[in-house]
């Protein structure tokens, strides 16, 4: 089945220790997104890639970076995690972003910062 895969599902990191979350997709979609969802809140878009074109949200902290080495993979790097970065991180994909297409989400990575 075509799908969006996130690894790991649970990640524990120490305060200030860089961490990388990964997302892969077998849907061959052009657009990939990263959302942050804190406890009891709605998901919030951090940034997205349209092919290799990176689009950052204005209020995404500089601490958050992303890489997309190819169509299938996208990474979220948190350079110096703080306690406030503990959250569920959701990756999503959609077809050609110039239109409007359904987004499909992965299972998420739950990040704990100690």
């Amino acid at each position: 089945d075509a799908m969006v895969i996130q690894n790991p599902r649970y990640q524990v990191t120490q305060f200030g220790k860089p961490v990388t979350l990964s997302c892969s997709q077998t849907l061959n979609h052009n657009v990939m997104y990263w959302y942050q969802q804190k406890s009891s809140q709605a998901p919030k878009l951090l940034f997205h890639y349209y092919d290799k074109d990176f689009n950052n949200e204005a209020d995404t902290p500089d601490n958050f970076q992303s890489r997309r080495p190819n169509t299938s993979f996208c990474f979220l790097d948190i350079r110096s995690p703080g306690l406030g970065d503990a959250a569920m991180y959701l990756c999503a994909t959609s077809r050609d972003g110039r239109g409007s297409y359904e987004q499909y989400f992965g299972p998420g990575t739950r990040l704990t910062v100690t």
Binding site: Y33, Q41, P43, E57, G97, E102, Q103, Y104
Partner: protein, 110 residues
């Protein structure tokens, strides 16, 4: 930015009951999706419905784009329907960005 309001915020149902969840939005949209977030945190796509009516088993949804609202109907609810239901919209002219409502927490009791 666009405002997305969901109601009710919380809902408790007895198994077998029906319910209607509402999503109001403040501007024209290209895309509207309903999701169910399960207890493990995964967002399950229920409907992609920028306008019109769709049905999938016990669930159906209607979006009236001209009046800026969408409804999600759950019939004959089951305990597995419990979780959080999110409405998310993509505002016209602001492509590729889903803005989520705060969600409706549904608890179905057996």
């Amino acid at each position: 930015g666009i405002q997305v309001e969901q109601s009710p915020p919380d809902l408790i149902l007895q198994e077998g009951a029906n319910s209607t969840l509402r999503c109001n939005f403040s501007d024209s949209v290209n895309n509207l999706q309903w999701f169910h977030q399960n207890p493990w945190g995964q967002l399950i796509n229920l409907f992609y419905i920028p306008s019109g009516t769709k049905q999938n088993g016990r669930l159906s949804a209607t979006t009236v784009a001209t009046e800026r609202y969408s409804l999600l109907y759950i019939s004959s609810s089951q305990t597995t329907d419990s979780g959080v239901y999110f409405c998310a919209v993509e505002r016209v002219g602001y492509g590729n960005k889903l803005v989520f409502g705060a969600g409706t927490i549904l608890r179905v009791k057996s």
